[in-house]
């Protein structure tokens, strides 16, 4: 079974589970850094990413997601191709102008059921196994 290994990224001495994956917006594949977040239902990207890539995220299905402070943020959901390691697959990806965190997030939907994900912080490694 293929295992894709990523190193934690150090941010002023603290370790962040950030990985680089691919996302297909329109006809173009873009590399993007995402924070692996088991607390996020969906993969969520800042709308600025879509805008920069020329992808009209506003055509996506509108949902409202509850965030940490109890408020709801508008999210436009799309079915998009992602690539993690050598695995390409369709995933629900949301775009929001009000994400409220600095990072793009890799969430559970379409991702966590596909991979066995191990957070091995003591070894500074994240592994995605299919």
């Amino acid at each position: 079974m293929p295992t894709h290994v990523f190193r934690y990224k150090p941010v002023q001495g603290r370790l962040a589970p950030i990985i680089t994956m691919g996302i297909k917006l329109g006809e173009v594949w873009y590399p993007i850094g995402v924070y692996v977040d088991s607390g996020s239902a969906y993969t969520l990207l800042h709308a600025a990413v879509a805008q920069g890539a020329g992808f009209d995220y506003r055509t996506g299905h509108l949902i409202h997601l509850q965030v940490g402070d109890g408020s709801f943020i508008p999210v436009r959901l799309h079915d998009l191709e992602l690539q993690i390691g050598t695995e390409r697959f369709l995933a629900k990806v949301g775009f929001s102008e009000r994400l409220g965190v600095a990072f793009n997030l890799l969430g559970r939907e379409s991702v966590f059921a596909r991979f066995k994900i191990c957070f091995q912080e003591s070894q500074r490694l994240l592994t995605f196994e299919t």
């Binding site: 993007i32 607390g39 920069g52 390409r88 600095a102």
Partner: protein, 80 residues
């Protein structure tokens, strides 16, 4: 395996390794900035994704540069 998939995977792995090696440097030098990374170096720095992607599209580099918003340590506290 599809050749494109394999090439893309190699490019993604290379970017990921570079980030692991240079994240602290990015955080020290460019906190909250948006950078474009290509061929093991920062090739453009901006305040927003829009201007960085605009530059990326204009330059048409291969492989596609990694556009990355550099975090601050405090940003880790915003993740639930």
């Amino acid at each position: 395996m599809d050749k494109d998939v394999h090439m893309e995977a190699l490019a993604l792995q290379k970017y990921d390794d570079w980030l692991a090696e240079h994240m602290e440097e990015l955080v020290d030098r460019y906190p909250s900035k948006v950078v474009a990374i290509h061929e093991d170096q920062v090739v453009f720095i901006g305040d927003a994704e829009a201007e960085v992607y605009q530059w990326v599209h204009k330059m048409a580099l291969t492989p596609m540069p990694l556009v990355f918003r550099v975090p601050r340590a405090a940003d880790l506290d915003t993740i639930l």
